[in-house]
Point group: C2
Chain length 391, copies 2
């Protein structure tokens, strides 16, 4: 196991009706002038935005609003948010929505107190300072509610890139599983896929002797295997929603990823898909992961065999571990299809003829040197083959 | 799942040589005048205390010292520490040692800024304010390095009681697994037992639909089952030590205990043993848990069957789940014996003739009404039977 620092100071407020405490938590964490950042329709229509505002009102906390955050959030709205925060003297950004809204809020919070272009952070500069952030989560998926990460798409060039820093970890996150009950099944399934991807990206490691984090990751994967189909079958199953939601936060606050190298090749490869086609990130991952895993399997067959046995209930083939490893990947692929995720480019809305362009941006865009690296290093030829496996 | 708030802001600094950063972390969290609190010989002899002092010196942070913290820490030293902190204007308490030293440091930190008798907190008053606390951990066991809890024994009456409050969560905890390599095997095994107890106390719940926390608890138990024997066989196995140490912190920061009722009957019953006989807490738990579990099994046979199958690898007897449930308890008992833990009163140094006295203090001491309650409620008759099962 490698040395590490684990610091997850986010206060998670979990359960029914917890959004009514938003104002109290903003106050507790020192906010006096709030930007409420949200996406669009559903937050307004469901009355959630009004409930959050009422909660701020009841604590005497003033606020302004910025809606319009989109899936795969864009840089344009971030610049707008930064201007607004500076002009209005905002000291707290409250995101009401899913991972995209939260990531957008994080970019605004970091950019407001930074003299340069906020995009610097998405080109590798560590975020050291930001306005305080809180969240009211409406979908179990991205884990952004408890992470130090943010992903934004730059409109010029459609580069989708990530930034990081403890300063953008939310001070608090309000998680009411009931808020996720109105999500369309496809969004729910995409969220489940994203959570499982966060787990697999940590599972695929080149660090040895990591039993404790292996076991924690497997625990959360097993939870998704159990609860995923239940929530797809009955969207109003509060308990299944609750188990998925807590798994989603624990999957990405890095409690189970510390002390080990991580992969993230699937995320990197998928980001080009959702940037170009604006598909749901989880749906893109559902198509990407089985291909990446199959392509990478020979790098460490026993690791894939382990997850196959421990999570997918495959029988270990001691004479041919690769049979077990492959069976685990197939079981995962079939699980994703069973909850309604796409299985190939066509179902995702991606096009085979775009592959050269996807590989170019993936491996050469934004300063990259012709390859990406995680569990294995993948060059342009590898990435081309992987995209072709998805067709 | 129940509503909950999870707030674990402790910064965990994990790995080899990390104690050299103690001074930097005290500074980061605002300490300017430190009380270094420790136990005795080994921290001094090993040179650890000197390394910690050197680290504070290099940051220009002044400090005073208070040694003498004992296993099952006593109220007398806490009063002494409180006086010392007030007299010297201490603003940060740095515990260097195991759970007992940390618990003692927490009591001192809370008592210093409290006008009344610190024992009030151990009689049910919530701790709202305390000096900042940091730890350099020397044994994987108590989980106090990441918990809001402290247990102290009051010398008049030998009452062993707990207090709690987010204010006594350590700001940072330094976890170097190598520091635990010099522990005697018995202490290592007692630590392993304590960690597993923290997991079982959370596992035994009356809350339904808690798959995610069940799975997380099982993951940490599985880690102990795998790594425990390895570290007993080779005390210098750094990686096994590291996996156990991280499991110990995650077992007790409540990440896997949220949203569910918990048990704690085994701890409550054991506390009277370590208070009276001054045995290692973990050793007392090794004798206590199998008896408590066997006595409580009929309350929820399927819960015990689940852990038997998922953690202990027992075959499910679908026609007779109680057979599986019992096999899981036996497997746990045998595991504890295999790592060198006592199996009965005699090996623990406890005496059958003391049982009436133990039950009296347990069920009537310090304001209790004749019973204790957790997973099941146990009256004096129940507790007498349980202690007799341990003989």
């Amino acid at each position: 196991m490698n040395n590490f620092v684990f610091y997850s100071p986010t206060c998670f407020v979990f359960g029914k009706d917890t959004e009514s405490s938003a104002g109290a938590y903003v106050k507790k964490f020192g906010g006096t002038k709030v930007l409420i950042h949200y996406g669009g329709g559903s937050v307004v229509r469901s009355g959630l935005l009004d409930r959050v505002k009422a909660s701020l009102d009841s604590e005497g906390i003033s606020y302004i609003e910025l809606g319009g955050a989109k899936p795969n959030p864009r840089s344009g709205l971030v610049y707008e948010g930064i201007d607004l925060c500076r002009k209005e003297g905002v000291d707290f950004v409250l995101a009401v929505g899913g991972g995209s809204t939260i990531d957008s809020a994080k970019a605004i919070a970091a950019g407001t107190v930074y003299d340069g272009d906020f995009w610097d952070f998405y080109q590798g500069k560590r975020i050291e300072k930001a306005l305080s952030i809180g969240t009211v989560l409406t979908i179990a998926a991205a884990g952004s509610e408890g992470s130090p990460d943010s992903v934004i798409t730059k409109e010029e060039g459609m580069f989708k890139r990530g930034a990081s820093g403890d300063a953008i970890r939310p001070k608090f996150s309000i998680l009411n599983p009931a808020l996720t009950q109105t999500l369309p099944p496809y969004q729910t399934a995409a969220g489940i896929t994203d959570i499982m991807a966060h787990l697999y990206e940590r599972y695929l490691t080149n660090t040895e002797e990591v039993e404790v984090t292996d076991r924690l990751i497997e625990a959360l994967l097993l939870t998704m295997v159990h609860e995923g189909p239940r929530v797809i079958e009955d969207p109003n199953n509060y308990d299944a929603r609750a188990n998925i939601m807590w798994a989603g936060s624990m999957a990405h606050n890095n409690m189970c990823g510390v002390g080990r190298s991580q992969d993230w090749n699937s995320h990197t490869i998928e980001h080009e898909l959702s940037a170009l086609y604006d598909c749901a990130h989880g749906a893109g991952l559902a198509v990407t992961m089985p291909a990446v895993f199959t392509y990478s399997m020979s790098h460490n067959v026993m690791r894939f065999a382990q997850v196959a046995v421990r999570v997918w209930g495959c029988q270990m083939d001691y004479a041919h571990p690769e049979v077990t490893a492959k069976a685990g990947i197939e079981a995962f692929r079939n699980f994703l299809i069973s909850i309604g995720m796409p299985k190939n480019f066509e179902e995702l809305g991606a096009k085979e003829e775009d592959i050269p362009k996807l590989v170019e941006v993936l491996c050469r865009g934004d300063g990259r040197d012709g390859s990406i690296s995680g569990f294995v290093t993948l060059n342009e030829d590898d990435c081309t083959k992987i995209y072709k496996m998805m067709v």
